[in-house]
């Protein structure tokens, strides 16, 4: 799968990796049983500290997307193939109404974060 890192973004680097893994799983680019690259390989390719990648992998494990097994690396779990299409449909509606209300991306993001932490 494709991994990208935007150092200019406000989002922490590890969180960018976490979000992309979730998206890839939702879109079928990561299937249960697939193995993620080793943390070392991903860190070298993206010019990141290996601890950044490890932090992302640990969060993905805590969220149930992957299992970290000694010797086998990071393996996508059976639970990972969650169907995100209802979320994407709701998002399309949210984005439309937010534009109608002249909300900026930043404001909408703050609202979403607030709602998620409730």
């Amino acid at each position: 799968m494709l991994w990208r890192i935007d150092a200019a973004s406000d989002e922490p680097l590890y969180a960018q990796l976490v979000a992309q893994a979730h998206l890839a799983a939702a879109r079928g680019q990561l299937a249960p049983g697939d193995r993620l690259p080793t943390a070392r390989e991903l860190a070298d390719s993206l010019d990141l500290n290996v601890h950044t990648v490890l932090k992302a992998y640990q969060q993905l494990r805590d969220e149930g997307l992957i299992e970290l097994r000694r010797g086998r690396g990071a393996v996508v779990t059976a639970r990972a193939a969650a169907d995100l299409s209802p979320v994407e449909q709701a998002l399309a509606v949210l984005v439309r109404v937010a534009r109608e209300a002249n909300l900026s991306t930043e404001t909408l993001t703050v609202l979403v974060k607030e709602a998620m932490s409730r």
Binding site: M1, D6, A8, E41, L42, S45
Partner: protein
């Protein structure tokens, strides 16, 4: 690298690897010839299913002549690949190893066949033990590997033109870093490998030549090493590496002229599966038929890897190659 310089390198390589091969065989033939007074006449020249019972006989000179023809034919075949299709160093490397192995194999086999017949009153008692055949196959791998290592890598040759304008790209912001990593496997490789190994093992068991088990063991190692790869596109370019770390190859981002998706027909384009040299000197890591990632490189070189989602890999490689031209 210009077209002329790879041809010059290929010619030099054909010359030294063939001469090495002939020299190895000539030395073995000279040794065998020096034994001629101690040998029965005719000598045993072929064994069927029983190591202790030869089923073919001939004179020493006809055996040497037959083996000479074999070495010359094999070297001519391998050399033709380098001569016409040796544009990539990796292809020339395979040819150098194959040439030297062919000479070494014929030399060892001749010595292992003829040596034990010294002092025999009658060639029907001659034996060809399994370990001798295994050794004749395995020993020449040593000079073959040395020959492969002697072949120089292609020197860095950044492409002078920008990446083809009509090649696919992905949207990547300035300063955004990206990597595409995908596992390449599948195809008939594992099944074919398993069948070949079981067949050879059964043959070895039937012949009761236990030393020959070294051959399926070696084949197993080769199959394990060459039938699953990690394919990676990042700022350094394209890296294809076996899951166990070897073999592998790398195309530097600044040598990419165009990356694209291509339909791979293993038999028609490459004559089979695995590491291949195909038409026009295209190097192929061919594991299955279907879509593959094609990279056209500076100096007329090209590489194909059969990998899923090659479209994303090709687009990212073009995009990252663009950055090297700024």
């Amino acid at each position: 690298m210009t077209d002329r310089s790879w041809r010059a390198q290929a010619r030099t390589l054909v010359l030294w690897s063939s001469l090495t091969s002939f020299a190895l065989f000539a030395a073995a033939a000279a040794i065998a010839w020096s034994w001629r007074d101690d040998l029965p006449d005719p000598i045993a020249s072929h064994w069927g299913t029983k190591a202790g019972a030869p089923d073919g006989f001939g004179s020493l000179s006809s055996l040497i002549l037959g083996d000479t023809v074999l070495v010359v034919l094999l070297c001519a075949l391998f050399s033709a690949i380098a001569w016409f299709w040796g544009v990539s160093a990796i292809s020339r490397r395979m040819v150098a190893a194959s040439n030297v192995w062919a000479g070494g194999f014929s030399a060892s086999l001749l010595l292992f066949m003829v040596g034990p017949q010294r002092g025999l009153p009658d060639a029907t008692q001659a034996t060809l033990p399994g370990w001798a055949v295994a050794a004749a196959i395995l020993l020449p791998l040593v000079p073959a590997v040395v020959a492969a290592l002697l072949v120089r890598r292609d020197p860095p040759s950044p492409s002078t033109a920008p990446v083809a304008a009509d090649a696919p790209r992905i949207a990547l912001a300035d300063g955004e870093r990206a990597v595409w990593i995908r596992r390449a496997d599948g195809g008939p490789g594992l099944i074919v490998g398993a069948i070949v190994m079981i067949a050879i093992t059964l043959l070895v068991v039937w012949l009761r030549q236990w030393a020959l088990l070294a051959v399926p063991v070696l084949l197993a190692a080769v199959f394990v090493a060459t039938f699953a790869y990690t394919v990676r596109v990042d700022a350094t370019g394209l890296t294809v590496r076996s899951l166990i770390g070897w073999p592998g190859t790398h195309v530097a981002a600044d040598e990419v002229e165009r990356a694209s998706v291509t339909e791979v027909h293993p038999l028609r384009q490459f004559g089979g599966f695995g590491w291949r040299v195909g038409r026009g000197g295209r190097v192929g890591v061919v594991l299955r038929s279907g879509d593959g990632l094609l990279v056209e490189q500076s100096g007329g070189r090209s590489l194909v890897v059969t990998v899923d989602d090659a479209a994303t890999g090709a687009a990212l490689l073009n995009t990252l190659a663009d950055r090297t031209h700024r």
